[in-house]
Homo-oligomer: 175 residues x 4
């Protein structure tokens, strides 16, 4: 059981999207909340593609969501929307899987031209899943997240400051 | 090489969405155009989940798109949007993979309440892929598509007539 | 000054949309909160069309929003989206006019096929206005709101019960 | 009667949006097509606000649309969507007013962050109006359109070239 589930929708472990999510997970943990991470790319691929919610690994991830009070949903923006990998996992969830939960949507993208994808593409899906309180999301421009040799990212100040603020608001809402 | 590529985004072979797409494929073929089918659920699952466009099977499906002049894109509506399975394949495509092609979006859903998902969720992604001519799509209410013992569907007249019309317009635009 | 501003985006005083909003205003008032109403159709038409935020009447309505903690936004669904009349008023507002406010979006429409317009069309605009907490909205099918001779509506039980619940949640969030 | 109707949704005559539309109108005219212009801000304000499609001026503009084969729809992007002024006119139209017509959507905005508003906000409304062929739209960043003393704009080359191409494609499709 955890307070906050961190769901990663990037197909690549070494992506900026994944690294940024690890950073956010750390901030949430440092605030005193218990966290758990679901990296969708590490779930059984066959079961994801066939939509088998009962497969081992998949079922655990769905249960992890059920017991969390807050959810961070991270996705790269591809083709003007969330990743297919994220949606394939959301499709496995029960109809109102986000009911009563506080949700923080986070996206990364190569161009500021994709920033509206959070509100026009991702939020309607979160609403359909019954989310009661989706806090303001945040879009991180990839060029402002510099990758380090150890796989982590260092955020430019213009991203670091507002993102910490967004995460703090989310933590407050989960409490 | 084919004139029209039919892309199926349903995770289940036995779904109404898949059966309807087989029917549409037959109509397109009967009109004299050459067709080819990509059932995303039959592509290598690992490669889909990792976004590996160069994997065998995946690469073939992407090439099949490159040589087609028309594309039918079929998806069930889940959580107020296209299926994650469809999007995971669209994410693998080159940036302007639909440039110069005529596209027909088709969706199936359990409630008429999801009909706007074609225009609000699917079309913006098709636009991002460079589609020049997306003909009017069509939403089939599942209760109007009756499944038969052999896996096919029989459409109610109120669906059969307009859907044939939509497909005929698409065929005309591809020619 | 008021606790809750009720904003009506229907161009017709005698519409079901307007009548439903009067009902919701009454419920909010009965909960002990102070309410104020802006019927956009009654604001100076010239100033609305020219986008003149400083015109008398317009400025008052913008100030009324600034001091409210909660906002109910009611709109009929036309052409798959919110009314132009609502948007013309939203366009007059300062960039983050909804920052820090709790917002309840309510829509009416002739077909359940338009229900996604709240989440796909209206919510992104409310997000752009800086809304921090948009509670779940509600779509009232017009055939379930029966107009009375006195201009009021009587809601069918299947609408009345969930709508009261939605309004109660909103009132709780404003408090 | 005209071949192409140019519809301007900017509330200000002196806006870049209005100036760009005059430029596009000129290009369409120079291609040999007959054009007509509807500046929504110049229509009777009271009738617009009350949704009175039969008022003089309004009715003429609706009839002008009915007889045109192509339509250019220009709007500034406000609050992450088309202008309310544009939508208030679209709301006055018969249900399938764009059926059989070729439509070119053009938007102007202060930030590239709003570019997705064409596809996520405007196109679904055009689809709901029955548009059969919406050609790729174009978003002009305001900083790339320099206003001249005479009220015209000079476009930077990086806008001028693709916009001329987009307009040429539209003209071809109308023919």
């Amino acid at each position: 059981m955890s307070d906050v589930l961190i769901v990663g929708g990037s197909p690549s472990e070494s992506s900026r999207s994944a690294a940024m999510l690890r950073l956010v997970e750390q901030w949430v943990r440092e605030s005193g909340l218990l966290t758990r991470v679901v990296s969708i790319r590490e779930l059984p691929a066959e079961a994801l593609v066939r939509g088998d919610a009962d497969a081992p690994g998949i079922r655990e991830s769905v249960n992890a969501l059920a017991t969390a009070r807050g959810v961070v949903i991270g996705t790269p923006i591809y083709k003007a929307a969330y990743s297919g990998l994220l949606k394939i996992w959301l499709d496995l969830l029960p109809q109102y899987a986000l009911a009563g939960k506080t949700v923080l949507p986070l996206a990364t993208g190569g161009s500021i031209a994709h920033v509206l994808a959070i509100d026009y593409a991702l939020r309607p899906v979160l609403s359909a899943l019954g989310a009661r309180h989706v806090v303001p999301g945040y879009f991180v421009l990839e060029s402002l997240a510099q990758k380090q040799d150890d796989g982590s990212v260092v955020l430019a100040a213009e991203v670091d400051v507002p993102l910490r603020q967004i995460v703090a608001e989310f933590v407050g809402a989960v409490r």
